[in-house]
Amino acid sequence: MYPFRSLPENLIAFCAFLRDDHGFAIGPREAHDAARALEIADLADERAVRHVLRPVLSGTREDAACFDAAFSAFFFPGPSRVVQSELSARPRALNRADANEPAPDRMRASATAEGGIDESRLTVDGQLVPAPPSEVTDAARVSLARASYSPYDAEGEVGGPEIRRADPEWCDAARSLVRRLHVGLSRSWRPSTKGQRFDLRRTLRVSLQSGGEPLNIRWLRRPKRAPRFVVLVDGSRSMSGAASTALELAVAIAAATMRIEAFTFSTGLRRVTDEVQRAAAGDTVRINRLQHAWGGGTAIGECLRDFLRRFGDRLLGRQTLVVIASDGLDVGQPDVLRDAMREIRRRSAGVVWLNPLLETAGYEPTASGMLAARPYITTFAAVNDAAGLARLSRLVRIRM
């Protein structure tokens, strides 16, 4: 057998492979469950083994999607008809893994950043079915390609910005933004001294102290809903300085609330929530330049549409405030941007567009991208420092 003799050894090596090279969340419990699961499978049947291991070892749809490729890479590493024992080394990374990216979570991030997993094209086996040919995707590809060849494209190894814990002023401003943002009342009832609803349960409980007479009345009240934030930062060259400020803003918000998701985009979308949250916790994190996600040209519309398709369902909602930091200099189709903005607006509590150019004297938002996006923006502002964020917290309007 390959690479070890016994089944448990192979299974453990496979688990380690999934964990280290593909970022699966697999611990001893999962490995143990996998061993138990193999007991009920017919080990001679490769498909059965795949079906048995997939539910146990994968935790998300993305896991399930790359499980089969990983399974083949681990157990059938060579070309077909080559006996396993004749192969020498264990295969390391799969082709989807980026050689420049050592940490497993980055690799998965890169897989998704490349649009490696198109969720609408997954089958239950986690295999990708070929994309139906359509004009829309072709058009998208053309404009993405154009953006990456454009003179705005990143040159050589432009490193991403370094982000670290936000200053106290930033944190204060972000806290005030989170506090002031009123996205309606939660549907749950919480005990409170004053409230709209009588709390029979607690009133009775406390009345035990007074011999059963309900002297102290307890009330229930609906607490404020905690707002969610989605911060999309334009990482194109034209934004360079302003993008770092926008990331600082994201870190400050992450310090004030857990409910934040952060992305960078230029010609591709990349989720940087982990990096932002680590920075908020005190680490100094460098956002790696990855594909075209930092320092290239911008296809805002394509990226926003990509965001909607991959994350829209999970992240948008009536309590989500979408913050887009971009100068609106778009190389894509204005129609795509308009549709994406309309969709984002429809599915969120509000859209804040932070444009660094707005501070420039004499600036008019007349770029085609800005014109397309403008009708769907609820708050149009510029934030250059903590005071700007504090100002923003008084400015943000929420659609109720």
Partner: protein
């Protein structure tokens, strides 16, 4: 019920009109064998909830359903005391001379306990199927509570003591991914993604659930559904929609689908106004699926006009 194999589960599901593929059958088998909760994710209307109902039927056990919603709290999922009844009881027994301890024991006895789904699942005699539906709709706080529940299978009621599960329920959680679930919850569960069915599976499902449906109509419905799901719709139609549609067409006595019928019954399939515009823009894509013969000239077909105009309404054929 210790060793059920995937093929047997799939066969039993098929008998009950649920077409499960190999991967899904194996996942169900694993959930039963390992006694772990099964988390089913997938688009709306592919039969996530239905699979739990069918599973309960296959296992000849009760289905206990906990529908999650925003603001669901632990108490409405676990238990509540029946306060009005307790108060009434306290007032009525005020003068019967029983001691304080006796009265307290009476008031806080099982008679006055309202069992909510989770407590019910624990106290059931035979291990039931517990369906935690749309777990993504509940708040994070409830998710944490659910985690504890799935790990311990015991509930402590201060007045009664700890109640431990006699048999572990088989748990199925469903999620529509309106929110990211926590890693901790995912790691407690087996995971399976239930996608839209393939063309052949959908035809199978249509025949299994709508007996008497003609071969041709089933093929047309399945192909059209496939085409629709490929478009960028706001609400892509699920299997539930194709079944509704098949029933609607049956009750209109259609044995095939043409442009006019599609126009009349599209409300069964597309539930958002904007989506109809999307369909109109892609007429060319669906045109080959529709038959070009109109419903009037089709022998044996009944047009809407004939049915309502002349009152020749007949029972659905087949």
């Amino acid at each position: 019920m210790s060793r059920v194999d995937a093929a047997a589960i799939r066969a039993a599901f098929r008998e009950r009109g649920f077409i499960a593929d190999e991967a899904f059958g194996t996942a169900l088998q694993l959930a039963l064998a390992l006694e772990k909760p099964l988390l089913i994710e997938g688009p709306a209307g592919v039969g996530k909830t239905e699979s739990a109902k069918v599973l309960a039927d296959v296992l000849h056990t009760r289905l206990i359903r906990l529908q999650c919603y925003e603001g669901l709290d632990a108490m409405s999922a676990l238990y509540e005391w029946n306060y009005p009844r307790q108060m009434l009881h306290a007032r009525l027994t005020e003068t019967d001379g029983s001691s304080l301890e006796q009265r307290e024991a009476q008031i806080f006895s099982e008679r006055f306990l309202l069992k909510r789904p989770l407590l019910e699942a624990i106290t059931e005699e035979r291990s039931p199927v517990l369906l935690v539906d749309e777990v993504d709709r509940a708040d994070e706080a409830f998710e944490a509570f659910l985690l504890e529940m799935l790990a311990e299978w015991q509930v402590t009621i201060p007045e009664l003591g700890t109640i431990r599960a006699r048999h572990k329920p088989s748990v199925i959680l469903t999620s529509n991914r309106t929110r990211e679930l926590s890693d901790a919850l995912r790691r407690r569960c087996l995971f399976v993604w239930l996608p839209y069915p393939s063309l052949e599976q959908e035809i199978d499902i249509l025949h299994a659930r709508v007996p008497g449906l003609s071969e041709r109509l089933a093929l047309q419905i399945a192909r059209l559904m496939h085409a629709l799901r490929g478009l960028s719709l706001q609400k892509a139609p699920g299997v539930a929609e194709s079944l509704d549609w098949a029933l609607a067409l049956m009750s209109l006595h259609r044995d095939h689908l043409d442009a006019k019928t599609l126009e009349q019954t599209i409300g069964c399939v597309l539930k958002v106004h904007e989506d109809r515009a999307v369909l109109d823009a892609h007429r060319d894509a669906v045109a080959p699926i529709l038959s070009d013969t109109s419903s009037r000239t089709e022998p044996g077909g009944y047009g809407l006009e004939t049915d309502f105009g002349f009152g020749s309404v007949s029972a659905p054929r087949g």
